[in-house]
């Protein structure tokens, strides 16, 4: 089975499992029908969604499987040479379809992506205890430093630090004084 098909089957499996878990959750919803059940109760629609998702996910897995079988059959019939050509074709055809950004992403290891997610989680966790200004300064410095090209880090470091401090304080005062939003003040109180 090609890696593409495996990925697609994975999509089907995910939705199948998710829908089963959802159905279990739905069965625990309490219902309230004091005047007799004339229509649907609060459990019906989630159950309907769950069942439909199970059916759809199975259909999808079936589709992928059938397609894979058909492809194999054709490749067998047309011999090994063209099979190779077909394989090559498949691999060259997929990545370009989503435009430049996606293809660029595929070419780099998404370490930056994972780190960005972690930074964002830490930022969220510290938002309330540290307060907006401090947590934002840390986040802005860390994230900017992560994204800047390695060889240009030295050149940018001073700007990044000053910018992060300045912008965080500026945003805090603009939002709390002029736009009357409440942002956590944290340890700076």
């Amino acid at each position: 089975m090609s890696s593409d098909s495996k990925k697609e089957i994975g999509v089907g499996v995910f939705f199948f499992i998710f829908a089963i878990a959802y159905m279990v959750g739905a069965s625990k919803i309490s219902t309230f029908t004091p005047f007799g059940n004339r229509g649907l109760d609060s459990r019906s629609v989630p159950e309907l969604l769950g069942i439909l998702t199970i059916i759809l996910s199975m259909t999808y897995m079936g589709q992928v499987w059938l397609k894979e079988r058909k492809l194999k059959k054709i490749l067998k019939e047309s011999g090994a040479d063209s099979a190779q050509a077909g394989d090559q074709k498949e691999t060259t055809a997929t990545p370009e379809s989503k435009g430049t950004i996606v293809s660029r992403i595929n070419s780099v290891m998404p370490v930056k992506l994972i780190l960005s997610l972690i930074y964002l989680a830490v930022y969220t966790a510290l938002y309330q205890p540290l307060g907006f200004i401090l947590s934002s300064i840390f986040f802005l410095i860390a994230e900017s430093f992560l994204l800047v090209n390695k060889d240009e880090r030295k050149k940018w470091i001073l700007f990044i630090v000053l910018f992060s401090v300045g912008v965080s304080i500026f945003i805090y005062f603009i939002f709390t004084k002029y736009l009357t939003l409440v942002l956590p003040s944290g340890i700076l109180g």
Partner: protein, 502 residues
Amino acid sequence: MFHMLSVGFASVFTDPTCITMIFVGVMVGIVFGALPGLTTVAGLSMFLPVTYVMSSHVGLAMLTAIYIGGISGGLISAILLNMPGTPASIATTFDGAPMARNGEAGKALGIAVFASLIGTMLGVAVMIFAAPMLAILTLKFGPWEYFSVTFFALTLIASLTEKSVVKGLLSAMFGMMIATVGLSPTDGTPRFTFGSLQLSSGFHLLVVLVGLYAIREVLLAASAKEQEVKVLEYKMKGLGFGLRDLKGNWFNLLRSSLLGLGIGILPGIGGSTSNIIAYSMAKNASKHPEKYGTGIPDGIIASESSNNASIGGAMIPLLTLGIPGDGATAILLGGFMLHGMQPGPLLFQQNGPVVYSVFAAMVLGTIFMAILMWSGMRMFVKILKVPNHILIPLIVVLCSIGAYALSNRVFDMWGLLLFGFIGLMMQRFGIPAPPFILGFILEGSLELNLRRGLEYSNGNWLDVFTHPISATFLALTLGSLIMTIVNNHRAAKKKLAQGVEN
């Protein structure tokens, strides 16, 4: 209607704050549209918290201005960088970039701005006249009609956005399942809250939207390798083009605008689809299709007029039915809700003045867009050079404020992170986001109207077919699904046959 419209115009034109905010909004929109990797949705998400405290007509005017600027701004990078700033201007690169390389960048920009102006104006004009009339019609909708229209919108978007209808439908189901978290409609039973008080109010629409679109987008841009931006040199005198450049293109302009308008009305797809379809349509209808792609005005006009006309189109179902036409209008829906308004049939009756002032703001925004693009191109080109490592962290911080300020809780920021992650995974596995969003938005009204309808009819499901409007929409749903499946099947067969031949 004309009276209301004049009141709307008066309220915008006599309010200096409103005019300023529209101006700022258009500028922000153009910048976000022009930056490759960041789209209008990120711009809208970033500026949402700024509009929280504004009066509703100013806040919404600013958001629509960002929308207009965003769709138009994409043309700058499409022409000067050969990189579409937003998906809405992909087709602009086909002829815009070659034209710029031929030393006619100024002309390409000028024509593109002109086409954007005409496209937006036409779309907005049709919206101004059609939306109130449609609203009168939708006012007569009962629960069954509502249910059927919503159902139609959901299946349509699932089949339009993805090659596999089943995958699109799965995405819609996923969104609907997430929407059931919280208290149920009509009887307020807690569902999937796991005893958590935070979860009992469910996930806020804006948290889901900003997470799924903006945070995902930003994270993706973060992981993309930063590229040295090379902007082509250009000279633009006056408007950048002469009337003779448009010779033979007036019909193309009109056709592409109308096409963009029509596509904009369909749920879930907007400028990002219409520009490509309009381009290929113009090419097919042209007497000299071989010249397309070499840098002729025809291609730029088709792409830029159609994507901008989609703006007005996408606003029509949003205002009259509460069904957003694309990602940006979904955020606008959130904006309306934040200001205590529910887009739908009653909007024109309950909040008429605000709606008409939004109309006026869109007209003014369109004019600002053209003026800013013609006169301030040099400034926007400079902004293209702002590096991602400065911009991206800042967007994240502002989006977080937007989420936090919804109800002053960090819980919503966690939601942002969760949906950003879900968005990333969906992208990775090729699951389209628009059906998810529409499913999430529409689940509530779908369930509410289904339950109401069944209560009115004493549990009789067949009652839905006895209402002409709802029966028609259900038939359309079935028709569109069958058509998509048949078309996909044919396309797959053709592809397979071609594969064997090769």
